[in-house]
Symmetry: C2
Subunit: 637 residues, 2 copies
Amino acid sequence: MNAPLKFDAATATVDAAAIEPFPNSRKVYIEGSRPDIRVPMRQVSQSPTPDSFGGETNPPLFVYDTSGPYTDPAAAIDLRCGLGTPRLPWILERCDTEQLDGPSSGYGQQRLRDPALAALRFNLQRNPRRALDGRNVTQMHYARQGIVTPEMEFVALRENLRRKEYLASLVESGPMGARVASLLGRQHPGQSFGASIQQEITPQFVRDEVARGRAIIPANINHPEVEPMIIGRNFLVKVNANIGNSAVTSSIGEEVEKMTWAIRWGADNVMDLSTGKHIHETREWIIRNSPVPIGTVPIYQALEKVNGKAEDLTWEIYRDTLIEQAEQGVDYFTIHAGVRLAYVPMTANRLTGIVSRGGSIMAKWCLAHHQESFLYTHFEDICAIMKAYDVSFSLGDGLRPGSIYDANDEAQLAELKTLGELTQIAWKHDVQTMIEGPGHVPLHLIKENMDLQLEQCSEAPFYTLGPLTTDIAPGYDHITSGIGAATIGWYGTAMLCYVTPKEHLGLPDKQDVKDGIITYKIAAHAADLAKGHPGAQMRDNALSKARFEFRWDDQFNLGLDPDKARAFHDETLPKESSKVAHFCSMCGPHFCSMKITQEVRAYAAASGVGEQAALAQGMQEKAIEFVRGGAKLYREV
Amino acid sequence: MNAPLKFDAATATVDAAAIEPFPNSRKVYIEGSRPDIRVPMRQVSQSPTPDSFGGETNPPLFVYDTSGPYTDPAAAIDLRCGLGTPRLPWILERCDTEQLDGPSSGYGQQRLRDPALAALRFNLQRNPRRALDGRNVTQMHYARQGIVTPEMEFVALRENLRRKEYLASLVESGPMGARVASLLGRQHPGQSFGASIQQEITPQFVRDEVARGRAIIPANINHPEVEPMIIGRNFLVKVNANIGNSAVTSSIGEEVEKMTWAIRWGADNVMDLSTGKHIHETREWIIRNSPVPIGTVPIYQALEKVNGKAEDLTWEIYRDTLIEQAEQGVDYFTIHAGVRLAYVPMTANRLTGIVSRGGSIMAKWCLAHHQESFLYTHFEDICAIMKAYDVSFSLGDGLRPGSIYDANDEAQLAELKTLGELTQIAWKHDVQTMIEGPGHVPLHLIKENMDLQLEQCSEAPFYTLGPLTTDIAPGYDHITSGIGAATIGWYGTAMLCYVTPKEHLGLPDKQDVKDGIITYKIAAHAADLAKGHPGAQMRDNALSKARFEFRWDDQFNLGLDPDKARAFHDETLPKESSKVAHFCSMCGPHFCSMKITQEVRAYAAASGVGEQAALAQGMQEKAIEFVRGGAKLYREV
């Protein structure tokens, strides 16, 4: 049953698809207050508007870029060396950490010594770091002391996406510039259910949100390769992609390839959920080559260490696993500390019992020992480890519902309350914390989840799997859950854990990973629009303008998946000339509503119908005023 | 550019994929109060629960079946003859229609005479029918006279899906039967936003809903092949699939194949939006072979008749087109009568103008003639035609937004108000009416659309395209819009018009049609669950039970797409023995949360933890009481 290894450290190479540049796009870096704060964005160039539509230039748009150095042609990518370490100077200059002589976990040492692993092992040239004795190195700790770290400034720049500069470039783009800027900068006022959404994200706002626990910046001091990002309800909604091998299938090389593929399509985080062979080595390869935060569920590996017998798990084995992984650089741990003994029997009458792997392991342990789990009783000990490396908590929902039937039941809600109590303990230690959520929930019960989470967990970021809004579509659970994800994102969830089409059926391959991510990027963006994140609508507006003006290539390139859009178009009208044609395959050359609209517009302007001429003049003036007034992106309600 | 015809009437054959039976499924017919009311359903058989999980039998589940005789092995399918005509006796016995000598439209006669069309023409052996002079043959007219038609009884049986019988069969399935029935019959109370959702649909309720205009049964007297279905907010949410050729591509054979393919996967309605060659003949082939209602946009064909010049359109040409299509059996017409002259200039400052084809045609006509459109001024004349054949109105949203930017703007909302006024006129004539809705709308503005529609159109069924909740994902607009569709369905939309992945890019092929439909079946079902349609959750519950018990084949077969679910599973674990294995590829044989849950449950029961023994006993008693008490599917709030 076990797959062959199919991996050799000496010859590991990057997937060619991961390093291909996006069409008409350029990797740019926005410099912060110091030259080593270089925030990556993707700049998408556009062609000018055809003369028949006005002839204006269309300045490039900046989009959020999770793909790291892989899409930078100037970067030398060698998986065997790993990525560069932009965060290292920031970590070092804080002078609150020390470099160890080697891994301090027993298991980490054992793996390093094992000669049989030589062919698999990533050749790491540096030793792990840890907080100096008595020091706390979490971003939350710094924030609470009023410090704005480079990481905080980095995420502030990243969240703003150069929107002000983009609007200004529109104004300067020609005689129609101000009008175009007013069009493309306009956005519907959002409905944010009590979020504190800012016009512009400042480093100070980032610090304040991290300080009060409403956002986290997952960034382990042993993951200096990371490009910092932020998770919180007052920031753009983020997407996590799960990868990882199992006992049945997959190899190290495939998992690294899934990671580079996932970040190419927009994964803001990646969780390595490996449960098969060589978990330790697989993780090392992933982290060393990942520009995004990596999360894990340490209990999976701990269980492997006791040969899959949950009742044999001990605090000591688990603790060693936490240290092992923290020293590799894992940025957040899913820890199912809310599965309390008393809650386990609440699941006995469920339709689908306990479906969380971590939850079921802990439930079994609790029953076998008839005592509270060591995750709960040792929670403050865990906090001590977390703050020594700045690993963030992702408090796991071990009792999440596995079916619509079980949604919002007693067991689920009892655990959520406990997660809220644990959040307070984590915060006492200045440990960054987010809360995991379900699962399978019908549309109308999603709001209750969000409201309870906000209240009971004091607005700690919510990180939900979907939720799936029906159980009747195996093979399409990216969609059943994408619906729920958009909805809960709108209500306030900070990060959405993707579900792939293979959910419930098999391990996702690269195509599934991409389908899952694009679906979740859609859900996250739909939520950003609905919440009213300033400027979220700019990409929609730019793409709609391109669409209306028959700028086919721009329409493709501004989308989430230029390759697929282009391929779909070419299936019907493959000729290159069709890409500038003022019609498309749906209606044909003689029958096009957009063409007719142009005629209507020209007619209206020429004949003065509806006072178009006056309107156009007035709009031009209003537009200039709008941009001069700081281009506030909200219309006042 | 024009595709070759690739079609010959003499050799037309049905697509083999359309007539393949679904796995472990059987077509059954539920007989109504008379033997010629035979309501089709798909009965999905299941395997028994493994002994380790209780060993009970799992009675077959009934699912809504739109596939018509195609999936009935007893039916002889010959596209050249068309389907049988189950409605014909019902129409005849009402004695309010007459058979004509032939088509009464000029165009219909001309096409029939044209020898060049012989090789393309469907060989229809009967002449069209029309209401006797002065009679009104709409289902609404009958309903308002207190008559329960066979069509009404048919849809009542269809909506109930034999749920009571299924629950009873569960009770009788063995010693655990009552407990299982109570599990599988349970459902979360819904949130219906003021809908009048019934515990059981009676023919009288159907009549009353049709009478007050809150539901329609699209069923032209010239479409006796149709298996009646109902569209209204108090019934299951329905899905429409658009097909149709264009000047650029596709043939008659391909369009018929798309129709049979669409209904196989669950399309409740099909719209033929052809704008290319041989629109008349294509439509005839589709209707004669369609068991679901067919809708069209007659202005498309009228425009072809004036060589694409909108300003040359006249009431007379349009009127002849309505009669031509009504006599072929089109069940509903999209008519953009709400595009009023005064609204056209309201679109001039939009980002994407007028994107509805029908809307842009009428806007151009209005401006060219500087007068109200003939659709608006002749609205009562149109009603006279509609009621002579029982064609339903689908009042088109010609000014729907084509981008997030344009959502809920003045033009859109002005038109909606007019559609409400036209609804009152249609109802004065007892003409069945539904209202089309947008389009592109961000999540948080969807509710406003629904609320305004309910209020201004007096709860006439809303029929929306999506809405798309973001513009940034060309290639994935089934998903951007599936999110909006589920949401607006939950709020009260009665039918969802699908969007395929090819939207904005090209004409959908069969794969796109299927992807669009499955996505929209998910959206519709998510909405049914959220509204709390009685028994909607039974399919979720049955599938979840199968999933929990590792009945892989049952899990596949109960889903919307058994083929894909099976294929996905087999990609990782192809062996037939894996389908009964108590593990799957995600976690492997030694690590499975469901297996652990079973152990937790056994442990809990054996050790009396949490009073499981007492609970189990109590539950058994409660279950029996539940089923004896009429198995009410709601828990009281």
